[in-house]
Subunit: 372 residues, 2 copies
């Protein structure tokens, strides 16, 4: 058994025995390696059953069982390991919650190297029609442009994000709070099974694990860490999507916010983040690509508003138009004076503007046509 | 005739003869006073009819005519002169467009000293239901809190802003692009007449003037300059409301943006300003008051989301709840281990959680109740 194989097996044991988001153990692994971290953790401590739990784990058997289900276990150093995850070592949340997981359990043929670039798209389970529409539009654009869409496989925005990426023929990965062999929520069984057989489903939890609230919170940090930036489409003030965005912030990755109506419950959390200056407003997939791209890539043109007929007028015509009254007609002399143009020039411009239906000639005076 | 009276009459003449937004004349007045600025402007120049126009104006008669219509003319130094306007001296837009107007024509009993504090609330004429709803909510709050609402008397957002302030019994002023004796647009006749007889209507244009596109642009700078900050409720990408916001920006006054759906045409301009970091998101009147208030006044509490039943649980109950699986029931031992609590403590917490309908006991195991 090579050292790296010992390291891998120690990581399997720690992955199976230690709860996700245990920052203390992660820090220990980071400092002294998994083999020694496991040795230390196997020393019984008065108020903890951790040592007992770890001692009961047979990592070889765990790997064999996983392999039979088509599940692989990735550790740092593997070619497929997403090195972006390692940044979690330096980003611990409250109470030391966080840290890089000992390893990742992956089901599905897509190598995680395909997560480059990858964008997290997250939001409310109770999505509105607006949120669904925006998620489809953004993820379709991202997938078509070759960016992988990472989300949590939940109902609502998560589901639509995966689904839109799939429909566009793009790459998409669900990061779960339970084992990758399990289906949660049950409604998304077809989606999760499809991802597990055609693309990839990922978890730091060993196969068979059930989801708990704490595991959802731990899972959120992986969504943020696996991607270059996080898009929040819809989120109430206490939404889990904001928890994911918080991890992105902690990792100094861009948080992108889709603004919504102030009156919409599911946009309140997003608008509030924008208000606090914690996220950049995005309104189109191209703006996301610009934010996650390397400097100078995917530059977005300033939105310019639609062209108006007025834009096609000559400079003189535009100048004259500025001084044509909206309601009560004015005589040519008055318009010429204000425009600082000769009367003949003004008359010519007014006639052309009339032919183009910008102005009306009424009672010997000129006024703007309605809706100019 | 005192000097200040000569100055006043010169300002009347300049106000009647020079187009609004003529930054060159404004700068001249600022440098050498209105009497000498008028003298210089009365010297005929080859390509301009300005001197001729100015020479034809009888300022005393203009004032008398205005007075008969209940219209007064304010100049700098008058107790009612809004000194905030003087900041326009230092803020010229493109092509020298801008500057402080020579004076203000005012109709209505409300002194302009009531514009303290004052907020500009502007937006699309083609307002959406959402925009109307938000404008009502914000202006009702502002007016009730004693802030004057300044807008342009137009259809759409402007109308609703004035109307909501009136209904709340607050102060509101319309700044027009035509003379204050005129009504534009015609649909708003009842509103504008009410403001002119009960509150105030303001213009830099002398009575009788017709509105032109250029005069609307000049008017926008007054809306921004008369107020402590400008709120854009709804605006398309090329909306006049953004022009007003641009003046607020030039004057270093806060621009406040009400975010809206990306899919709404009339929110695109607002969202784009937020995206560019040119405006602060506001979602409630109290946030506007905080931004325009003196430091430390009107502080807004962070929005916290609604309280959840879970918030009322004890620390131990919450700790246990974190580790109760969402779907497949888990045994007490497993939950106790993960919670780092004694089994007896865990059982007690689970029983209380069950009584409060947070968890279910199924097949000898515990799982979360639906929707916890």
């Amino acid at each position: 058994m090579t050292t790296s194989e010992a390291e891998r097996l120690a990581r399997v044991t720690l992955s199976c025995g230690v709860e996700p988001g245990d920052g203390t153990t992660s820090a220990l692994i980071c400092q002294i390696g998994a083999v020694r971290a496991l040795e230390r953790s196997l020393v019984p401590k008065p108020d903890s059953l951790l040592a007992e739990r770890l001692a009961s784990i047979d990592p070889v058997r765990q790997l064999e069982q996983a392999d039979r289900c088509g599940i692989r276990f990735l550790v740092p150093g593997d070619p497929e390991w997403p090195t972006e995850l390692d940044h979690l070592d330096d980003a611990a949340g409250d109470d030391g919650f966080g840290g890089t997981p000992p390893g990742l359990w992956v089901k599905g043929p897509m190598p995680l190297t395909a997560l480059d670039p990858a964008v997290a798209v997250v939001g409310s389970r109770a999505a509105s029609v607006y949120g669904v529409e925006m998620t489809r539009m953004l993820c379709d654009h991202l997938a078509t442009a070759g960016a992988a869409v990472v989300s949590g496989g939940a109902r609502g925005i998560d589901f639509v994000a995966h689904d839109a990426a799939l429909r566009a023929g793009g790459a998409t990965v669900a990061v779960l709070a339970c084992g990758v062999d399990r289906v949660y929520p049950a409604q998304n069984r077809p989606l999760l099974q499809h991802l597990g057989s055609e693309l990839a489903v990922v978890s730091e939890q060993p196969p068979g694990s059930a989801p708990t609230r704490r595991r959802f919170l731990a899972r959120n940090r992986l969504i943020a860490a696996l991607t270059t930036g996080t898009v929040i489409v819809e989120a109430a003030l206490r939404s889990g999507a904001l928890n994911t965005a918080g991890w992105a912030e902690l990792l100094s990755r861009p948080v992108m916010c889709v603004p919504g109506p102030v009156t919409s419950y599911t946009s309140q959390g997003v608008n509030n983040w924008v208000r606090q200056g914690r996220g950049t407003v995005v309104t189109h997939g191209s703006e996301i690509l610009e934010l996650i791209g390397r400097a100078g890539e995917h530059l977005v043109e300033e939105p310019r508003g639609e062209e108006r007929p007025r834009d096609a007028l000559t400079r003189v015509e535009q100048q004259v138009l500025e001084w044509v009254p909206v309601s009560t007609p004015a005589e040519v002399d008055s318009i010429a004076t204000h425009s600082s143009l000769h009367v003949r020039e003004t008359v010519g411009a007014l006639r052309r503007l009339r032919a183009k239906r910008f102005v009306l000639l009424e009672d010997g005076g000129w006024r703007l046509a309605p809706d100019v």
